[in-house]
Symmetry: none
Subunit: 130 residues, 2 copies
């Protein structure tokens, strides 16, 4: 076997930088192909081919209107990616939390001035890690 098809899942489809750009561009509004071509400065056939891949894995939705086709990012299809990456969140948040906690500790001990007035303890937001 060789490398998996780009259309095999969102992970493979998103591996291509140009496709990520397209997804960002189509995230907030639907656009005809021509505008993507213009915005990204990529040849039209190339854009069409990328859109085909994205559409095959459900990362974009398409709607016909007259002779143009309006594409739009389907954010839901990106969720699996986000959730997979979030699996590792606790490993990097752990470090950040320690930095934050140390800073707070120093503030509490008056080693750092937060405001020139009295140091009121404000309720600290804490993210609950499952």
């Amino acid at each position: 076997m060789a490398r998996a098809s780009t259309t095999s899942d969102a992970f493979n489809a998103v591996a291509e930088p140009r496709r990520r750009e397209i997804l960002i561009f189509l995230a907030h509004a639907e656009r005809p192909v021509g505008e993507i071509v213009e915005a990204l400065g990529v040849p039209q056939p190339s854009v069409s081919k990328h859109l085909r891949v994205l559409h095959d894995v459900g990362l974009v939705r398409m709607r016909c209107e007259g002779r143009q086709k309006l594409y739009r990012t389907n954010a839901d299809a990106i969720r699996p990616l986000h959730e997979w990456a979030a699996t590792f969140e606790r490993y990097w948040q752990h470090q950040l939390l320690r930095v934050k906690e140390r800073a707070e500790e120093m503030v509490r001990q008056g080693a750092i001035n937060v405001s020139p007035a009295e140091t009121k303890q404000k309720p600290k937001r804490q993210k609950e890690r499952r």
Copy 2:
């Protein structure tokens, strides 16, 4: 040009399912190659090759101990992936809400008959030029 190298960035490296499995497996503790082989049931040369790719893009760290090499996931290298995906977070958060709002809007404009009544003309869609 062909498809980008798997070692070109984390996105490409992670496109391979087996490599994602390895990253998960190495997330919470460092392991020698042999344990990965045993845990995933993949031939040793294959695991070594995957580890090489992951190491090239910084997704894993390696430490020698005697004749075995201990690998562990470097979660920080996954953050860019997570952050890119998080760009779309707001879109899937509001997606259901928007469907509902659109439906309500259509009802308000009479494009949809909620109760059996007269048929009104439906508003034409207009393309807003940015």
